[in-house]
Symmetry: C2
Subunit: 574 residues, 2 copies
């Protein structure tokens, strides 16, 4: 079993080694060659000045990235959790396939031709270097849950444990117990493993993906890179437009974080857009297509039952989940129970072969304050709990999705019921939004609810951007959404008492008190913005050594006065 502490630390090296395939030249491609690298593309070095990426080395090739912020004034550097992934890669070549050796080394997988049919025109949109005709599939049950239950600490678990600053054995136990998941499809070797569970850091998800109305593949890859650079722990590709397969392939081959999808979005495209025409077979084939591509978790709206749907008629907001409304429509039209519920065992069998995790959709989540915590919502949550146990019976990892729009005083009930009814499977919530009145600011209305529910035990927070309810988010919206949720997640980590959370706050506050302005900027969640705001009214070398800023001016800086006070006291005591 691997040692619990990293054996050594190495600075970042060019990522040329350990690729499963042998395409040369993935380092050093000029930015002009990269379709998504416009002049405004942000890079690690520009976004995080005074930071460098280090790798903490574990056993068996485990190399865990951290971002180290260099400080002045004799202060030790601060190491922060890093999601940005290998830098400077040409997206047409994808990221290094670090996990490939671990996966193949476990001898419970085989390489097989693709089972799902991929239309030629979609295939053609995938660059040759990342196109694959053969994929991995389990001969047994190659899931992290199965390994954990057998007492095995995988390299993925060790990686994630080092990242969290925790013991690998604790990670294994939490996964075995179902309280944490480590989403890691065997066809996603580019992944840097991470954990979703309430003993660990609260994670955030950024939704990307195009719609029929807006965006392109390039734009989506740029959103992915931007999202992980700013700190997204997972991304969901919610594309609904054309190029859905090719977009996903580009995203997966370039994603260092788990990728989630909602297969029903593609299934409905395949049948021409009418929910009534959906069939179990089309859905199953789509799910296999996602699994073969390397999707790490899938939202499945299997808990939207006919009897729950009936009860939504008196809602102000109706059904606001896309998948939920589709399945509701299907079952009403056909007069049958939701086929995702009736075929749930088969779903488990498919996911088990690739280690795709379930994210049990909350198709009936409230989309308005008036509908929060109503009967259909909680009835579905109870059904999610049933399905959690079925997934566990198949050694499939599972988490539960949660609301939605919920006022502050009704948030705790959501968490309490989820823990009880869903047997402590990780909770993954959208916000919740604590009011409906502020379209254009829903990253804020929801960050309030997200911080609160994160503190109470939610393992991952699905971000909301300022464009929610209004349109498809662009790159800047993605950044604003990620920022709001990094704040919410960190506020929750502090409140939960995560052992590594407060050292960041303390380092920044110490820099602030000591007027180490540049350190304060470098330690900020968004260093460049912090410095730009400061420099708007006071800039230059003098401003960076000044014991004040333009907010209070030279006479009124409380920190300077406090320093003088301490000096005065020392003088008097001497």
């Amino acid at each position: 079993m691997p040692d619990s502490s990293p054996s050594s630390i190495a600075p970042e090296r060019p990522e040329t080694a350990a690729r499963g395939d042998a395409h040369p030249g993935e380092v050093g491609a000029r930015s002009g060659d990269r379709p998504e690298n416009g002049p405004d593309e942000e890079r690690f070095e520009t976004v995080y000045p005074a930071s460098r990426k280090l790798y903490l080395e574990g056993s068996d090739g485990v190399r865990v990235p951290v971002r180290e912020v260099t400080l002045s004034g004799g202060e030790p550097p601060l190491r922060l959790y890093d999601t940005s992934g290998p830098q400077g890669r040409d997206p047409r070549l994808g990221l290094p396939r670090t996990r490939e050796r671990w996966i193949r080394g476990r001898s419970d997988v085989e390489e097989v031709p693709r089972e799902a049919r991929v239309p030629g025109e979609q295939r053609a949109r995938v660059p040759e270097a990342i196109r694959r005709d053969r994929v991995l599939r389990g001969t047994g049950t190659p899931t992290q849950l199965a390994y954990a239950r057998r007492g095995i600490v995988t390299p993925e678990m060790e990686f994630a444990a080092i990242r969290e600053g925790m013991e690998p054995e604790l990670v294994r136990e939490e996964i075995a117990r179902g309280r944490a998941i480590l989403p890691s499809n065997i066809n996603h070797p580019e992944l840097e493993p991470m954990l979703i569970g309430r003993r660990f850091k609260v994670k955030i998800n950024a939704n990307i993906g195009n719609s029929r109305v807006a965006s392109s593949i390039d734009e989506e890859v740029a959103k992915l890179r931007r999202a992980v650079l700013w700190g997204a722990d997972t991304v969901m590709d919610l594309s609904t437009g054309p190029d859905i397969h090719a977009t996903r392939e580009w995203i997966l081959r370039n994603s260092p974080v788990p990728v989630g999808t909602v297969p029903i979005y593609q299934a409905i495209e395949k049948v021409g857009g009418d929910p009534a025409d959906l069939t179990w077979e089309v859905y199953r084939d789509t799910l296999i297509e996602h699994a073969e591509q390397g999707v790490d978790y899938v939202t499945v709206h299997a808990a939207v039952l006919r009897e729950h749907v009936k009860a939504t008629d008196r809602r102000i907001g109706g059904i606001v989940s896309r998948g939920g409304s589709i399945m509701a429509h299907w079952s009403v039209v056909h007069g049958e129970e939701n086929f995702l519920y009736t075929h749930f065992d088969e779903l488990c069998e498919i996911l088990a072969r690739y280690d795709v995790a379930f994210s049990l959709g909350d198709g009936l989540r409230p989309g308005a304050i008036a509908d929060a915590n109503d009967h259909p919502q909680f009835a579905e949550l109870k059904t999610q709990g049933e399905l959690v146990e079925v997934a566990w019976d198949h050694d499939v990892q599972v988490m539960c999705e949660g609301p939605g729009h919920v006022p502050l005083h009704k948030i705790a009930e959501n968490m309490d019921k989820q823990l009880e009814w869903c047997h402590e499977a990780p909770f993954y919530t959208l916000g919740p939004l604590t009011t409906d009145i502020a379209p254009g600011y829903d990253h804020m209305t929801s960050a309030i609810g997200a911080a609160m529910i994160g503190w109470l035990g939610t393992a991952m927070l699905c971000y909301v951007t300022p464009k929610e309810h209004l349109g498809l988010p662009d790159r800047e919206d993605v950044k604003q959404g990620v920022m709001a949720y990094k704040i919410a997640a960190h506020a929750a980590d502090l409140a939960k008492g995560h052992p590594k959370a407060q050292e960041w706050d303390d380092a920044l506050s110490k820099a602030r008190f000591e007027f180490r302005w540049e350190d304060q900027f470098h330690l900020a969640l968004d260093p460049v913005t912090a410095q730009a705001y400061h420099d708007e009214t006071l800039s230059g070398a003098g401003a960076l050594s000044a014991k004040f800023c333009s907010m209070c001016g030279p006479s009124f800086c409380s920190l300077r006065i406090t320093q003088d006070l301490r000096e005065e006291k020392r003088r008097r005591e001497a």
Copy 2:
């Protein structure tokens, strides 16, 4: 006693009547005449399309503004609390002096020459129309607390009651009990009365004011107008630079909301900037100057005692309150107790004569997560509680200021202790900021804490702008700060169950579900931004009747699918 329900409703009329002085021409001045009206100045009509201002009429000239949003589809209009004040006024002439008749009618005030000396150059910067050599002063104790205790419902109380949709008698009781304040200096006749108390809507304060480094009078008046247009319930003028008296005069004469100040900032300017040179006499004269100008509440750091200051030495963040650090410095240098504490009775006597409310400063509030809920902070809070009782003995209205930087799990303790130790006097908190790591985004780090503490009972939330810790906020920062805090306050109102809170959310969600896009925009907290975000990717008349937006595109709109579903069910049942 006035009737509890408004007797009639009148549309806005030109504000020419009822001014105490008789300067003509205050309506109709062209925008070129107004120093602060640049081309980007926002106006009621442009910021709130489809809204109009109405007045609910009470007794004795009470006319309470509301903003009424007109809706389509046969929906009734929605009436919202309005803080924007009379529109279209030339700031050199000030707002109408509506309260003047009520104040003089109570016969416990006299008009006297100014007691405080105003330097000629400051006086010269005040436009002639709003310059005053004589002011009002109480012959008795003209405070709302004194009236309430005597069983009198003043026009101010009636005004505020209509605004809240509550009974005037309830308002009187809450004021009499000290659980609410109605800040309303007898020299601020331009005021539209409002309440700060936990039975009522959670209020927000916007800080404005220049510093020695940045800004101008024009800019500060523009910030005031912008702040109240967006919904600030009070403003604090925290100016510390030159022109401090004239800036305040301009602000007061143009402010429909209560204005708070921190007199120590001006007192220290008067003695040349060194806290050691402060004297009780300089402070007292400054306080009288503010009271004569019409300041409605003053932050007084009277609870920063020497023994508490000692205990701050081990803090990471030191003392982060400007006033707190000044008083701490003074008492250490002089080896004496804080003169604001030792002269507290005299302070009460001054404030009682003008009905200025105390805002007991939290000079030792934590400025870093590491310092939250520490001994100095709570020791000061306990002393605030003592002083609340002293103020009440003098019939002076009082609220208590609170932190600061506090992680989520330590917020409730602040509220609990404040209620207990300060005898339920209203709590007025800065944020609190729930993490230190995000300079540039502290409107968000703090809106999270503000929503939470507002729910728990805080009566007013002091906003934080994105520039906090970095520089003086500009007009756009003021807007962003107000937006974040309107959201926090409304989220808190919903959670507290304020009877009028949820109707706003319901109206908006109903519009959303029914694809009344324009109604959705008009009902938004910030209509123009909501529409602009929507129109970025889909615009024109077609987009406004479309049953989708660019986020999901035409096939995937869950609301459209839900509508189809309801239609399908109706068809089947028919």
